[in-house]
Symmetry: C2
Subunit: 192 residues, 2 copies
Amino acid sequence: MALEHAILVSLSERPGTGYEIGQQFSRSIGYFWSATHQQIYRTLKKLHADGLVSFESIAQDGRPDKKVYTLSDAGRDLLADWVSSPTPLSPLRSDIGLKLRAADLGDLPTVITELRAHRDEAAGLLAVFQGWEQEYYPDPDALSGRKLGQYLVLRGGILMHEHTITWCDEVLVRFQREVDNQSAAQPAATSR
Amino acid sequence: MALEHAILVSLSERPGTGYEIGQQFSRSIGYFWSATHQQIYRTLKKLHADGLVSFESIAQDGRPDKKVYTLSDAGRDLLADWVSSPTPLSPLRSDIGLKLRAADLGDLPTVITELRAHRDEAAGLLAVFQGWEQEYYPDPDALSGRKLGQYLVLRGGILMHEHTITWCDEVLVRFQREVDNQSAAQPAATSR
DNA sequence: GTCCGCATGTAACTTGTTACATGATTTA
DNA sequence: TAAATCATGTAACAAGTTACATGCGGAC
């Protein structure tokens, strides 16, 4: 259901083509909701059939026509209801959690290397987010309305990646100790 | 892909029926990977066709036969490879993030009420997790192997819910201030 | 006598992923 | 001349959700 809402949210910020919505999904909104262009086109078609968006075809030189979609009144009403509706805790699907749970089946040093890569990736994204925070929201206390919501979502992303990094570090420390203990127990085993 | 791995992880901890795996998915493992029983039965069939698990039918009085699944050597090898493989940052799908981004379209006091409910739900789960931590892992420094992995996943869950609560609180403070400002600006508007 | 736990399944549908296809313009 | 950007789409498949179906035994 929520992909529809994600697209409506994007259109509520500004009208745009499927392509442009896709851009947003791989930039700002994309850090909290992802979708491929195929999903977007498919869903736009459905939203149009349901009367939640309208579009205007714009002819272009050389390129195919573009369809600029706009939120309809019905779409805006639906969004307003939706943002005020309850949000149950969403079931999790965390690959890294699963892997950790079975980590002792794999090769620990390799697991550590991959975990560090994961951690660094999160740290990279965190830096990007923190850059945005400083650039776009230098005075967070003064924010209100739409801008405030966007800022708070960004804050959520920052907190989330901080959490990921904290967790990875905790795991890395413990796993490193585990490796050290093993090599201390079998000091002759230098290879494999 | 990863549902297959989730089931293999469960079977690597102990053999079991589809039903029992489902139980695990709504308890321990379920807090990091969720699946319905339909998905599980469907996937078990596929895993069996691929030779990653085997099963033994056990006749029962009155009840239908149960199939106790066991991880095969091939399944164990596949799991070992998988836990050592890279884990890219997974794309996010956060309903609450999306809603926040469009929060100004809805009724703020209602949004606040729902957000508080969300926060409290997370706090409830956090308490459950913390209970487990104390009950099952009273001496975390002494853990190793399989148990250590399970503990670290639980730690991840605890950190995650703490993050959720921190975030919700941050948002609640800001939104409450927003409401106060609005009612200060229009002190006569007591209803609606 | 009704609900809960055990135990497995089918069917229909919605979402999400991956690959392929087209075609002009701009940038390296 | 190879690539990236703009712009839209089809097709096939994998994964996830919801509803329905069966049937015994025990608890309330």
